[in-house]
């Protein structure tokens, strides 16, 4: 039992670099966001003046524009999550249960595009939806009227769904893969049809995956900056864009910090709620 003492002090020594790094460059900045949210907003040059004021918080409540942006954030989050949850499921099911070559290729494709920058994804949709883009050219070729989608709300929604549904599909895919196929076979052997089996066996067993995947889509959507800027009009801009404007263009760090805290609160509440029902482990096993 001789080495007990060096090993105990050794573990704290091994812990030190990582813990210190995260404390200084992650915890301290987060605390500063809270501190600076009470600082005095700049008048003229400078990003903030030290002090204590609740003005930045009052501004959020008093100026209806900002309350409206918070509502818009939630609205985009809910719409994108709901559509993704529905359209992503069949693909996840197919990839989890199919064995064909298409299926393998689809999975590789899905994984491969998972981290492709949102700048390029949004750019691709601007090319597809613009007035003389792919969709309108095809519509004209068919003799139909063109549609003006870009820039606009539905272009933003299309871009957001495209950006985030790989995360949903991968999460649900993992859940369906873990369902024992013999349960489905048993249900069918006992006389239930495919639809009934799906409704009473597969769907209930994959509900945690659906919830975890939806949580990811919601969290990613409410935090997205690039898509609304590239694909939307100013009325489609929600919190992340407003935060960036305050911090980088208005040089108003205190108010930007208040808005950041609101966004973090939305995300924290969502993650906590889902983690409570689903269990944290499932949430982020991809």
């Amino acid at each position: 039992m001789g080495p007990a003492l060096p090993r105990t002090s050794g573990k704290y020594l091994l812990l030190l670099p990582g813990a210190a790094f995260l404390a200084v460059f992650f915890l301290v900045p987060l605390c500063l966001v809270v501190v600076h949210s009470f600082y005095i907003s700049p008048s003229g040059a400078g990003m903030y003046e030290p002090g204590f004021t609740l003005d930045n918080y009052l501004r959020l409540v008093q100026e209806s524009y900002y309350a409206g942006r918070v509502v818009a954030t939630l609205k985009f989050g809910i719409i994108v999550t709901a559509i993704t949850a529905v359209i992503g499921y069949p693909l996840a099911y197919y990839l989890a249960r199919g064995r064909s070559l298409v299926c393998q290729a689809g999975l590789v494709l899905l994984l491969g595009t998972l981290y492709v920058t949102y700048v390029i994804r949004a750019f691709a949709w601007s090319v597809i939806l613009s007035d003389n883009g792919v969709v309108n050219t095809l519509l004209h070729a068919l003799g139909a009227e063109g549609v003006s989608l870009y820039p606009g709300t539905w272009a933003v929604v299309a871009g957001l769904i495209y950006s985030f549904y790989p995360f949903y599909v991968i999460t649900v895919f993992a859940t369906i893969r873990n369902i024992d196929p013999s349960l489905e076979e048993a249900s069918q052997a006992l006389g239930a049809g495919r639809l009934r089996t799906f409704w009473y066996v597969t769907l209930p067993l994959s509900k945690y995956g659906i919830m975890a995947g939806s949580m990811w889509v919601f969290v990613l959507t409410v935090g997205s900056f690039v898509n609304p800027v590239i694909l939307g009009k100013p009325r489609d801009w929600f919190l992340p864009v407003i935060i960036e404007q305050q911090v980088q263009q208005e040089l108003n760090v205190p108010f930007g910090s208040v808005l950041s805290l609101v966004l973090m609160a939305i995300v924290a509440l969502t993650v906590t709620a889902v983690a409570r029902t689903v269990g944290l482990r499932r949430v982020w096993r991809q």
Binding site: P3, G10, K11, L14, L15, G18, A19, F21, L22, F25, F26, L27, V28, P29, L32, V33, M47, P90, L91, Y94, L109, L110, L111, G112, Y115, V116, T117, Y118, V119, I120, F123, A124, W125, V127, N132, V134, Y162, P166, G193, R194, L195, V222, G223, F225, I230, L239, P240, I243, E244, V247, Q248, V253, G256, S257, S260, L263, M264, V267, A268, W284
Partner: protein, 267 residues
């Protein structure tokens, strides 16, 4: 008979839906690839003749080449830092009894959940007084924090999947902690660490808003370069660079996923 036909109809609908969804996944990438082959000066559909000039032009386009180099430098440095620190943290959390394990894990994982824009604002709050804003080092540190969850989790999972008897066997045969780490644990966690490195690099390479907030107008990464060129003119250069970036990211991610799976199944 009627039942049989209904099931077949259901199957057909399912096949069509899945086909459309796969198309949705491929279509934008295919459009970009097609557009990048234009011989014209603008991104119009259909393209005006085939040419590879935008790809060959990329190699000599200083702003894209410099931005790509900056992105690679940031990505490699950030991935090296997050793998070393995240891997070390995971090793300690997995191997020792600690009083505040949960807090530590939460700290290493939470950058994954926070909206990147709020992380960027937080970094800026620290970096402005530290004079790290608008510097390369600032972006590297920011991306190290942003990417730390992946190496941390992958290493943790590799160590959790490891047969604990391997370590005690090594210790029983006379190895000390360092020797057993070097000869048993490290080789077994290596594939996961490498996968973590690649994931972290890919995330940093493709990240935009944190870099933009921290870098201001002083450091130009590839995503910042693409984003700012989008605001002026839609040149086919952007489509060509996008295709190259998608291919690079896709290959890296699939390779890392394969490594990560191999890493945890071989134990």
């Amino acid at each position: 008979m009627a039942g049989r036909r209904r099931i077949d109809a259901g199957r057909a609908v399912f096949a069509i839906v899945v086909g459309l969804l796969l198309l949705y996944l491929v279509f934008p990438v295919a459009v970009l690839a097609y557009m990048s082959l234009t011989a014209g000066e603008t991104l119009t559909f259909p393209i005006e003749g085939f040419s590879l000039e935008w790809y060959t032009g990329l190699a000599t386009n200083d702003s894209y080449v410099n931005a790509a180099v900056t992105s690679i430098v940031i990505g490699v440095s950030a991935a090296a830092i997050s793998c070393t620190l995240g891997g070390l943290l995971a090793y300690v959390v997995a191997s020792y009894e600690l009083p505040f394990k949960g807090v530590l894990s939460a700290l290493a994982i939470s950058p994954l959940f926070l909206p990147p824009v709020t992380l960027g604002v937080a970094f800026l709050n620290l970096f402005l007084p530290m004079r790290l804003a608008e510097t390369l080092l600032g972006v590297i540190i920011a991306h190290s924090v942003f990417t730390i969850p992946f190496p941390f989790v992958l290493t943790l999972r590799a160590l959790a999947d490891m047969n604990p008897e391997l370590k005690s066997a090594a210790m029983n045969l006379g190895a000390n902690t360092w020797q057993s780490f070097r000869t048993v644990e490290f080789p077994l966690m290596l594939p996961s660490v490498v996968a973590g490195f690649i994931f972290a690099f890919g995330m940093s390479f493709n990240e935009f808003i944190i870099a933009q907030l921290v870098a201001g107008y002083s450091v130009t990464t590839l995503t910042i370069q693409i984003f700012s060129s989008l605001r002026y003119a839609l040149s086919p250069y952007i489509a060509a660079v996008a295709v190259v970036m998608i291919l690079a990211t896709a290959i890296l991610t699939v390779f890392a996923a394969w490594l990560a799976r191999r890493g945890s199944s071989s134990l």
